[in-house]
């Protein structure tokens, strides 16, 4: 058994976060907080800074200025945070070995691997796939395996970067079902998408990003029925392109 820090990762608070590369500003003074509750969906056109924001909130990128705190503390090791990248890398191992790797990285005792692996495979609908080479799975199956691997960390917060981009409708539905199940277990989900339908289906709260700034941060219902800002109205109408 490993000792788990009792501290919570939540709320995650970004305070005037600026992140840039060279002279390019990617995140331009972002202040936001992610609180327990229904999923937060980051929405915005390509290049608006969604991926960068997720990486900063995960603690993988340090802001150039401003600060990020997790449960009130500055940099702590990401014990109970997990992320699924837009194009997750599959370890050159079997499906099962991919999950076991995540379990062991999270410090979970070997004696628990079998049961946890079976449970995770079942959750993401990959029961019976355990012995297959992970890199031979279809795009949707790889995305689900990546979800299982992230969940192996037993996270309090799960970041998902465009988890259904480039998937067909059936695969998208399968992923969204898992996301809803995960959110139902009380795990805070923060996901990015540029797909409206998906935002509508999953979001409790919407954060609209545009050119590295937060344009709007509102409960999902309000965002779609009465967007407050011009950009939000344009985006809902499909006219906000850059």
């Amino acid at each position: 058994m490993t000792m788990r820090a009792p501290d919570s990762e939540l709320p995650i608070v970004l305070d005037a976060v600026r992140y840039g590369v060279g002279r390019l500003t990617i995140l331009d003074g972002i202040s936001l907080s992610f609180n327990p509750g229904a999923p937060t969906v980051l929405i915005g056109p390509n290049g608006s800074g969604k991926t960068t924001l997720l990486r900063v909130a995960m603690g993988l990128l340090a802001p150039n200025s401003g600060r990020v705190t997790w449960g009130g503390r500055a940099q702590i090791s990401p014990e109970r945070r997990a992320i699924v990248f837009q194009r997750p890398a599959m370890l050159r191992r079997t499906v099962e070995a991919n999950i076991e790797y995540a379990l062991s990285s999270a410090g979970i005792a070997r004696s628990e691997w079998r049961a946890r692996t079976d449970e995770l495979l079942k959750l993401v609908g990959l029961t019976g796939f355990g012995g297959r080479p992970a890199r031979r799975l279809s795009g949707g199956e790889q995305q689900r395996l990546a979800l299982a691997r992230a969940l192996a960390r037993d996270p309090q917060v799960l970041f998902l970067d465009e988890p259904t981009a480039s998937l067909d409708p059936a695969a998208t539905k399968a992923i969204e079902d898992v996301i809803q199940a995960v959110a139902g277990r009380g795990i805070k989900v923060v996901l990015s998408t540029h797909d409206f339908g998906e935002a509508r289906r999953l979001a409790g709260e919407i954060v609209l990003l545009h050119r590295g700034r937060v344009i709007e941060c509102t409960p999902a219902v309000e965002f779609f029925t009465e967007p407050k800002t011009n950009e939000a109205r344009q985006f809902v109408a499909g006219e906000l392109l850059l």
Partner: protein
């Protein structure tokens, strides 16, 4: 010795002279690859996974050294080990040890350069996941070496193929002494010039067979890797 035996008969009857030459060749090249791997794999891994000034230059030099002419390596090792050379006191010139050292030097850059490329490519692929899973540095290296194992074994086989087929280095530092430092390649060179074509041809056939087997192994390892790991 049956001076007029055909090449095929020599091979078929496992002629003792031929067998001892083949065994020595395999022993020398195998030992050289083991030595070269002990130095080359860690070197390749370190260059792949660290950033230091002059790294690009190191990669270019390593890649260039893959094409080292065996005779030049032979000459350098000869100067090193000759009686008046810096390591002359070892007294191993014209012994199999000298041949192993020369071939190890020849093969090490091949192993290091190919391993560097393999490990670096895999690292580029895995680095984000390592960060996300909070994997420590030693475990990262272990994971990369393990997941690249099929490619790395192929690299070692490529090194073995190069060592077994070269003649320039072993002939200079080994001296081609019958029953002591005579390998397949040096024997072929000598017997051909002496006109003992059956022995030269017989050894040539064995050498080609070994090269074919090594390549078949490399192919098999690659296929197994793809099947098991995608």
């Amino acid at each position: 010795m049956s001076g007029d035996a055909s090449a095929l008969e020599l091979v078929w009857n496992a002629d003792p002279r031929l067998i001892s030459i083949v065994l020595l060749s395999l022993f020398v090249s195998f030992s050289a690859v083991v030595l070269a791997a002990l130095a080359g794999l860690p070197l390749g891994a370190v260059i792949a996974l660290t950033r230091f000034p002059g790294r690009e230059a190191a990669i270019v030099i390593l890649n260039a050294l893959m094409g080292l002419p065996p005779v030049v390596v032979g000459l350098a090792v000869y100067l090193l080990l000759s009686r008046s050379g810096p390591l002359g006191s070892w007294g191993i010139l014209f012994t199999p040890k000298a041949m192993i050292i020369a071939q190890a030097i020849l093969v090490m850059p091949i192993i290091a350069a190919l391993a560097r490329q393999t490990i670096e490519d895999l690292w580029m692929e895995y680095r984000d996941e390592f960060a996300a899973m909070n994997v420590g540095p030693l475990r990262r290296i272990a994971t990369l070496l393990w997941d690249a194992r099929f490619s790395l074994v192929t690299t070692l086989l490529a090194g073995f193929g190069r060592a077994a087929a070269e003649v320039g280095a072993v002939i200079i530092v080994g001296g081609n002494i019958e029953g002591f430092t005579r390998t397949m390649t040096t024997a072929i060179a000598l017997e051909t010039s002496k006109g003992d074509l059956p022995l030269a041809l017989g050894l040539g056939m064995v050498l080609i067979a070994i090269v074919v087997v090594v390549n078949a192994l490399a192919w098999g390892v690659r296929r197994t890797g793809e099947r098991l790991a995608g």
